[in-house]
Amino acid sequence: MSELPGNPQLLVWLISLPLLGALMSVACRKAGRWTAMTAMIGNLVLACLLLAATQDGTLRYALGGWEAPLGIALYADTFSAMMIAITALVGAVISGYSLSYFATGSATERSFWPLWCLLLTALNTLFLSGDVFNLYVGLEVLSLSAVALVTLAPGLAATRAALRYLLASLMGSLCYLLGVALLYYAHATLDLALLADLTGDGPLERAALALMIVGLLLKTALFPLHFWLPPAHAGAPAPVSALLSALVLKGTFYLILRLWFDTLEEAANQLGTLLLGVLGCAAILWGSVQAIRATRLKQLVAYSTVAQIGYLFALFPLLGHATARVTAFDSMIYFIMAHACAKGAMFLAAGNILTVAGHDRIAELRAANLPSAITLFALAIAGISLIGLPPTGGFIAKWLMLQSAFHAGSWWLVVVVLLGGLLAAAYVFRVVAICFDRSEVSAPTDTAPRVATINPGREWSALVLALAALALGLLAAPALALFDATALMG
């Protein structure tokens, strides 16, 4: 038993509370939104407590009192606490947005809250669980609730996108599970920490690692496996797109990181790391080019996600480097946080534009009604963070990445990062220029002008997330002090 009995129980509550929220919002449908909101706020408080608690050392909780090989253990260090905190923060803001996005009492709204609570349960499970099979179940809850959230959008396109997403992530889950089965076949253990001690670099471990990573890459949508992402993320309702892009992909990415650099470190080799890095670079370029070519705003933002995921993987070769790894790790966490805030803000802003303008065809936005300046500022700040200009979180992330790349002497990476920034600037300014350039709106032909107004809550929540991305840039030193870069790699 630990000296501080209150502390490890946080881990249990972080999973129970959102699940409780989900059950309550299924059971009493009328009050669904308020029970869910309560759970979200409680979750945010718990996440802050966890962040504080992990500063003194890692937390561990054996569920049911059964120790590792037999039971399931939960585990939290500064890295997982950081992930939980950013998830809780972004999630709470998106929940606030959703309060006024979905019509009160509609069937869509009633399904949204339980599904979102389950999604949060799954994310917290992914960040905390220390058991490979439990992680599989968490992954399934994650992807099924994500797919279910996509189906909240009516229409054929969204249904097909959801189906494609579902089949892709099922195949991903099964690849992961086959890896788990192979590991169990050889070592009869499911606990991550024990596996880290047991596994070597035999063919079986290599095969298991490859299967698990490929399965997770499919869910994280790294470049050649990203085919399902743009339709699903662009077709979902705006808050759902924000959740999927900002948070869901990070859950599976976190797991990849854990497996690759911690649990199965010995099986992971230099070549694989390099391959992931190259794919990441390809994703940056491909995603950015597709974003530039996109005709719809939400599509553009979705392709930008493909590119941003690329940065996370482009860091892999640096993470494997002896001297550059600490900076690279800081950079990775910063990318995750900055992207979560900026992309969330961008999708929320895009949702506002879509509602007010009635469409999101970029070329025609110039002549359309646009929401107030709050939304447009949110869009602009988020865009600046995605490009990586100061003083935003995106800038810090890229700066750290460049520093690390100089250290390691990876010049090609420097080139790709700079090129990616330029391409991002191209697609962001394309939208921002249209939205801010209202000078020549000379009473358009007025084909049935849709005068839709939106709740100010929706505009402010987009701005809050954008400002969070800005704050990450201004408060870089204290934010970086919150986690220990050596946590992941021992």
């Binding site: 099979f133 189906l163 089949l167 086959l178 009869a188």
Partner: protein, 103 residues
């Protein structure tokens, strides 16, 4: 060659077979079937892993993989149900659109 290895290999064959057809066929119902076969392959490997540890002929199989497979089966049927519902819905929405296009 041990029984566990034999059935483990069978599981791998089922998995690969399912994967190939899941990637190549275009008909949704079949793709769902193929993914289910993949899943059955994985479960087969797990059950084989449980049997592997049978010591000296005693029926002393490892219950942990059995529990995992039970969990896996329930998750698989849930996912299949969701996929089937989506297929049906897409089919009906497409039919509706076609009618609107015609009329």
């Amino acid at each position: 060659m041990s029984t566990a290895l034999l059935f483990g290999l069978c599981g791998i064959v089922l998995f690969v077979l399912g994967l190939y057809f899941a990637l190549t066929t275009t008909e949704m119902l079949r793709r769902i079937l193929a993914i289910n076969i993949m899943g059955n392959g994985v479960f087969m490997l797990l059950i084989a892993a449980a049997y592997q540890h049978d010591v000296s002929g005693l029926p002393n199989t490892d219950p942990v993989p059995h529990a995992l497979v039970l969990t896996g089966i329930v998750v698989a049927v849930s996912a299949t149900a969701l996929a089937l519902k989506l297929v049906c819905r897409a089919h009906e929405l497409a039919a509706e659109q076609r009618e609107e296009g015609d009329g």
